[in-house]
Amino acid sequence: MTKQMSMKDAIRKYVHDGDTLYASGFTHLIPFAASHEIIRQGIKDLVLARATPDLIYDQMVAAGCARKVVFSYMGNPGVGSLRRVRAAIEAGTLEWEEYSHFSMISRLQAGASGLPFMPMKATGASDLADQNPNYQKVTDPYTGEAVVVVPPLKPDVAVVHVQRADAEGNAHVWGILGEQRLAAFAATRVILTAEEIVDQSVIRSDPNRTLIPGMIVDAVCHVPYCAHPSYTQGYHDRDNQFYLEWDQISKTEESVGEYLREWVYDVPDRAAYWEKLGPEVHQRLTAGARLSEPVNYGDY
């Protein structure tokens, strides 16, 4: 059964005020098109969870969509500070809940596997655990030693961008996998966006690459270039130049406001956004070809 619908309809149907949202992707496959649609629809009071809030949550916080952020590294990767999230935290206008990368991902692993908590080896660092009561200790029943545990993270909705999917949401993903799969399995509702919608026979030709099965997906949206200024391996490059520019844009509320007006509110959808970026940017972000060797699954 097809689950294909427009990004606009998917956000309207599956993202509500007050939801906990996990827009997944570690540097790679970050679904900026979905966040821009959420901003356009004026959705409020979201709890924004991501290991790395990245520019996607900096923009959503600046646009007034968020009540709280849950994160493990709040920076502009390779550039510096994530200015809008940081300013809101320092001003006391945004709640936050903080983890290390591994404890954040462990929370998703617990949520995705239906477990009550996830154990982790000791790190010896106690300052963060003293500030965040979600870090607890249990006694290892086999050795009697204390083990650190974190509770499941179960987002109301996850947005996951992939290279290709069929209309039911069976999706092929390659490149940096981050926490894509865990976010999808942990969430109650899943919006899948894809560079290409393909016939199911393409998915069946390489089942080991299907990291997200259609059975957990609610909506499938065909959104080429969904991830810009992040990237999609093999489809387009990361726009490092924009990540550097954002460091300037995000310095003041005014310049962020101008950016949002020009690139989010006054743009109807991702196709128009990509068009607006222009041929020079398209050329600069082109990904050349580097193909894998085909494998033989055998004909049985």
Partner: protein, 255 residues
């Protein structure tokens, strides 16, 4: 002689960090100076070093300098790509990582690192990016190296917040926590090298050419001890500088 002294502080730190790496090391690496140090080591004395990234990339062979730790160039041509959960469990937590590179806003007398806040946690004066993977790398990599410019504000006696641990309050405090890794082994700065003594306190073990102990003390926030065997590091060699400037960072982004 003039040629020998013709290098900048970043180059000095990269070269000294690269020399610490051994052939065959599995290194959990970040972007910037650690990435350059690994690549320099691979092109000189450690051709079999393996770079792994917290994004889940093993055996990366980047063809350009990545800006971010999740750059697509890390994937193309890598040995393996796995999820973040796998990289932190199967590789780091399991003990398959020899070296971790760390940095932070503050590093204290016992090698503890602050990357979280300056001031009070609930009402921070400066909100820093936070741990990322550093809490686990500092605890679970077999050994760690910290690379940072030598400034007094970066080396207070005590950090405002312990994001990742070195030797805590010294003595056997680290051992008692049960963490598997040995902790920070060398701190590479633009003035010299510091290493933990038996008590876990960072002491000066080497000066870079032309640097005095007084200069290092002036830029350190505690009463710095100088090791009895304190040496002077060998200046960067022409070949090391050539590889760095011509092959690894021709655009001079990090050096």
């Amino acid at each position: 002689m003039t040629d020998e002294l013709n290098y900048n502080p970043s180059e000095l730190m990269v070269v000294n960090a690269a020399r610490l790496l051994q052939d065959g090391d599995v290194v959990f690496v970040g972007v910037g100076i650690p990435n350059l140090a690994c690549n320099l080591a691979m092109r000189t004395h450690a051709p079999n070093l393996q770079m792994i990234y917290e994004a889940g990339v093993i055996g990366a062979q980047p063809s350009r300098l990545p800006l971010s730790i999740g750059d697509p160039t890390l994937v193309s041509g890598a040995l393996s790509v796995c999820s973040m959960y796998d990289i932190f469990t199967l590789y780091l937590q399991r003990g398959n990582v020899d070296v971790g590179f760390l940095g932070g806003a503050q590093i204290d007398q016992y090698g503890n690192i602050n990357a979280t806040v300056i001031g009070d946690y609930p009402n921070p004066k400066v909100r820093l990016p936070g741990s990322g993977g550093s809490m686990e790398i500092a605890a679970w990599a077999n050994r760690c190296y910290i690379i940072t410019p030598h400034q007094k504000r970066r080396f207070p006696a005590r950090v405002d917040f312990q994001t990742s641990i070195g030797f805590l309050s010294g003595g056997d405090a680290r051992k008692k926590t049960g963490v598997r890794g040995a902790g920070p082994e060398v701190i590479v700065t633009n003035l010299g090298l510091m290493q933990p003594n038996q008590d876990g306190e960072l002491v000066l073990t080497a000066l870079h050419p032309g640097v005095s102990f007084e200069q290092v003390q002036e830029n350190t926030g505690w009463d710095l001890k100088q090791s009895e065997t304190c040496t002077v590091t060998e200046p960067p060699k022409q070949e090391e500088l050539r590889i760095l400037r011509e092959e690894l960072d021709p655009g001079r982004i990090y050096i």
